[in-house]
């Protein structure tokens, strides 16, 4: 085995008394693709930020080629460590070439050497095997191309170590394959790659070795040959997964139609009809960017609708939805995709967040009573099993799962007739996830019409009675939940041609 190019030894990092990374050692050799896997919150991203010098460890050090590096982003880059962040960090208004050299424009006496920059950018893109117009603005590129430009940017710094944090999260299977091949090619040239992913099949496809983290601790670090996917998942989770997916919901067609949307058109939505009946859970599957969020936002009037008609029937009355407010008045509850920015006011208390949509019920005369708000909020937080149910605590101080429960709680107070949940358990821990699933099923059992958007296939399969798969702003197929499989949803979502890839 060759000498390691990067070596992080006994890294410890705490946030507010809890160890996010607890005595973790990772070494990677040139040409090696090393996977770091673990559940959400296992400490992967923190560890990578420490390697990239963005975060300072409480103890432990990082060595490149046997030399300890100072802890700063600049010295990490100088030492040859490049991190491709989970969130894309390109400037949308600037061109591909400019983005690749962002912060390191080749200059002469203060003047940007555009020609040289373009040539270097072209070389870099050729090296990673991506064709894109250098003068195109980032905002005009697809998510996948942006991801590739991001990688080009990292490669342009001639790194010895390339770190990728969930690079395939928003890519289609074909794009993912392309990326994986690219990484194998780069590793073949002697680059050390640290690959963070949730997706175990990808890890087994390209990685040479695996490090598994759980609750900040190193659980296992071994070569890929001595492991199986089942073993990796078992070690990641550290407990048995309850496979509720076997208990699929049967199609319940007896309720009255609550949502009737006909011919919905909006930017990214090309004419969709959708119907949800009382007591049903309807799933919307598809890839990120397929137009699912745009569809429901257009249905609810949260974004502009360019065509189509929406009628919601609640308490025996038909309500035509012409604006978001009219949708809410008609009995809609909307749990948005971005709970931290759209779902909650993180700086306000649980009680205040719950009060907002229920103010006419809790304070009918417009005068607040803190005691009344708190008891109202307390009752709802207990209903959704918020832990701990301290309603005077700031919403932002709760974990993702609990925050999502608060969002659901605030709508339950209105006794909605139609509930829309967009990625209800993204970034939520396993325990809270199954509780949220239970809540959603309970809602439907109580006669509420439920529409769920999810990119999490097991979740979609577990919850939905009917799955409509959306691609390019159209419903490309509808599957009966009981008969659907991850593969059947995925092949519709990605388009037939890409299935084999």
């Amino acid at each position: 085995m060759t000498a390691p190019v990067i070596e992080a030894r006994s890294i410890i990092k705490s946030f507010g008394g809890v160890r996010a990374v607890d005595d973790v050692t990772v070494t990677v050799a040139p040409g090696e693709i090393h996977a770091v896997v673990g559940e959400n919150g296992a400490g992967k991203s923190t560890l990578m930020r420490i390697l990239a010098g963005v975060e300072t460890p409480d103890s432990g050090d990082v060595q490149v080629d046997g030399m300890a590096i100072e802890n700063s982003a600049k010295s990490s880059i100088d030492a040859g460590i490049s991190l491709v962040h989970q969130e894309l960090s390109l400037v949308p208004e600037m061109t591909v070439a400019e983005n690749i050299f962002l912060g390191a424009f080749p200059t002469a006496g203060g003047w940007t050497k555009t020609k040289q920059m373009k040539k270097l950018a072209a070389d870099t893109l050729r090296e990673i095997g991506v064709e894109v117009d250098l003068d195109e603005r980032i905002s005009r590129l697809s998510v996948a191309l942006r991801q590739f430009v991001e990688i080009a940017r990292a490669i342009a710094r001639n790194p010895k170590v390339l770190i990728l944090d969930e690079p395939t999260a928003s890519l289609t299977p074909a794009e993912t394959n392309y990326l994986l091949e690219m990484l194998q090619r780069l590793a073949g040239k002697g680059l050390a790659i640290i690959y963070i992913s949730h997706r175990i099949p990808e890890v087994f496809k390209i990685c040479n070795s695996v490090t598994i983290l759980r609750d900040g601790k190193l659980v296992l670090s071994d070569s890929i040959e001595s492991l199986t996917p089942e073993k990796v998942i078992e070690q990641m989770v550290g407990r048995e997964l309850l496979l509720d997916a076997s208990k699929r919901r049967k199609v319940n067609d007896t309720g009255e139609v609550v949502l009737s949307a006909v011919g919905i058109k909006a930017p990214g939505v090309n004419g969709i009809d959708l119907e949800v009946k009382s007591g049903q859970i309807i799933g919307l599957g598809g890839l990120v960017g397929a137009g699912r969020t745009e569809l429901i936002r257009a249905i609810l009037g949260a974004d502009l609708r360019t065509g189509g008609r929406v009628v919601i029937t609640s308490q025996g009355k038909k309500h035509s939805v012409t604006s978001y407010l009219s949708a809410i008045r008609a009995g809609v509850a909307y749990v948005p995709e971005e709970r931290r920015t759209d779902g909650l006011a993180l700086g306000m208390t649980v009680s205040e967040n719950i009060f907002l949509p229920n103010r006419k019920q809790v304070a009918p005369r417009g005068i607040l009573s803190k005691a009344k708000n708190d008891s109202f909020a307390k009752e709802l937080s207990e209903k959704v099993n918020l832990r701990p149910p301290e309603v005077t605590r700031e919403a932002g101080k709760y974990s993702g799962g609990n925050q999502q429960k608060i969002v659901i709680a605030k709508w339950l107070g209105r006794k909605p007739a139609f509930v829309v949940l967009d990625e209800p358990t993204r970034g939520v821990d396993v325990g809270a996830k199954s509780e949220i699933h239970k809540l959603v099923k309970q809602l439907a059992d109580d006669g509420v019409a439920v529409l769920v958007i999810s990119s999490d296939l097991p979740e979609l399969l577990e919850l939905s009675e009917i799955i409509h798969v959306v691609r390019d702003g159209r419903i490309v197929g509808s599957l009966i939940g009981e008969d659907a499989t991850e593969k059947s949803v995925m092949s519709l979502a990605a388009g037939e041609k890409l299935v084999g890839a």
């Binding site: 948005p336 920015t341 759209d342 700086g347 306000m348 103010r359 607040l368 832990r387």
Partner: protein
């Protein structure tokens, strides 16, 4: 189950926002200053003024101080609503207060006091609606919109009053109000306190006040919870307009005269009081009592500078520096607190 709640407890403790309670050393100091600094500074300023400045504690000086503080203070209290929504400020209070003052005196001279109040009220509503609708429903920038309405307002005022000063009769009710006192407190100070009490109630105890705060903390989540956010912004501008009107009345009554440029500088001085009080220009954070404290601080500071015979130019420099300091601490406190 036990295991689940354990992982959940860990997840709660691990959330990044938890770390913000842990800020230490100089960072903690900045956060403290951004939040509680005004209390410390006001106490120091009052103590120092009473000890070192001759004539500060005299009844005559305190009455004078109240007279000067009241109009700007009333405007600042109202404008706090706009600042809390995160829409920076309402510059047009300069035109609004002047319009109210000129209308009060000119219209009551021509007709009667009740008509003057009614006309001023309608004008205030017009200002509030134009500002509020442009900013709230059309999402126009508040600074530019209110800069423009200031211009419009001052222009109309000039056309109507010919730009000349109007005087009330020296024995009229306006003049009487301007010079009367309740115990040691001039009526203007009483109005300031009443406005403060009413607006404190509105901001912290009513659904409307709640929506203003919620909108300031997170506009998107407030909208998606089924709130008419345009209405909230219009409401905040209307409250500011009402306060500017009352501030203009008080200012006119004090001297029994009014002229179109009488409220020059009110926009900035009101903002100074609001920001120094600790209401954040980023929205969401702030209160009426804080603004009242800011009014007290800024007024005492100006008063002390006057008593110490420091020229007006230096007073402006001092207030300007104070704002730069307060806004910097606000921004810094927000950034440090976020980390």
């Amino acid at each position: 189950m036990a295991k689940e709640s354990l992982t959940q407890a860990m997840a709660i403790a691990k959330s990044p926002d938890e770390a913000k309670r842990e800020v230490k050393g100089s960072a903690a100091f900045v956060v403290f200053m951004a939040d509680k600094g005004i209390f410390v500074f006001t106490a120091i300023l009052i103590a120092a003024s009473m000890t070192f400045v001759d004539g500060f504690a005299s009844l005559q000086n305190l009455t004078d101080l109240f007279h000067r503080a009241a109009p700007i203070g009333i405007v600042a209290l109202g404008m706090t609503f706009v600042v809390i929504t995160g829409n920076y400020l309402d510059l047009s209070v300069v035109a609004q207060a002047a319009a109210a003052g000129v209308i009060l005196i000119a219209v009551s001279n021509a007709t009667n006091l009740a008509t003057a109040f009614a006309v001023a009220f309608v004008v205030a509503i017009m200002f509030g609606l134009v500002n509020g609708i442009a900013v709230g429903y059309f999402k126009a920038n508040a600074v530019i919109v209110t800069l423009a309405t200031t211009y419009m307002g001052l222009g109309l005022l000039r056309l109507l009053s010919g730009g000349s000063q109007v005087f009330g009769p020296s024995d009229g009710p306006i003049a009487t109000f301007g010079t009367s006192k309740l115990g040691p407190f001039p009526y203007s100070a009483v109005v300031l306190v009443v406005v403060a009490i009413v607006l404190t109630f509105v901001l912290s105890k009513t659904n409307f006040g709640f929506m203003v705060r919620s909108f300031g903390v997170n506009e998107k989540s407030t909208r998606l919870s089924g709130t008419n956010t345009g209405f909230i912004v219009v409401g905040a501008f209307l409250v500011t307009s009402m306060a500017a009107m009352v501030g203009g009345f008080v200012l006119a009554a004090f001297s029994n005269t009014a002229v179109s440029n009488m409220a020059t500088g009110f926009d900035f001085q009101a903002l100074a009081a609001i920001i120094v009080g600790g209401t954040s220009v980023f929205g969401g954070k702030g209160s009426i009592p804080r603004t009242l404290l800011g009014v007290v601080f800024v007024s005492i500071l100006s008063n002390v500078l006057v008593l110490s015979q420091i020229s007006y130019g230096w007073q402006q420099v001092a207030i300007g520096s104070l704002i730069v300091f307060a806004v910097t601490v606000d921004a810094l406190g927000r950034r440090v607190g976020k980390k």
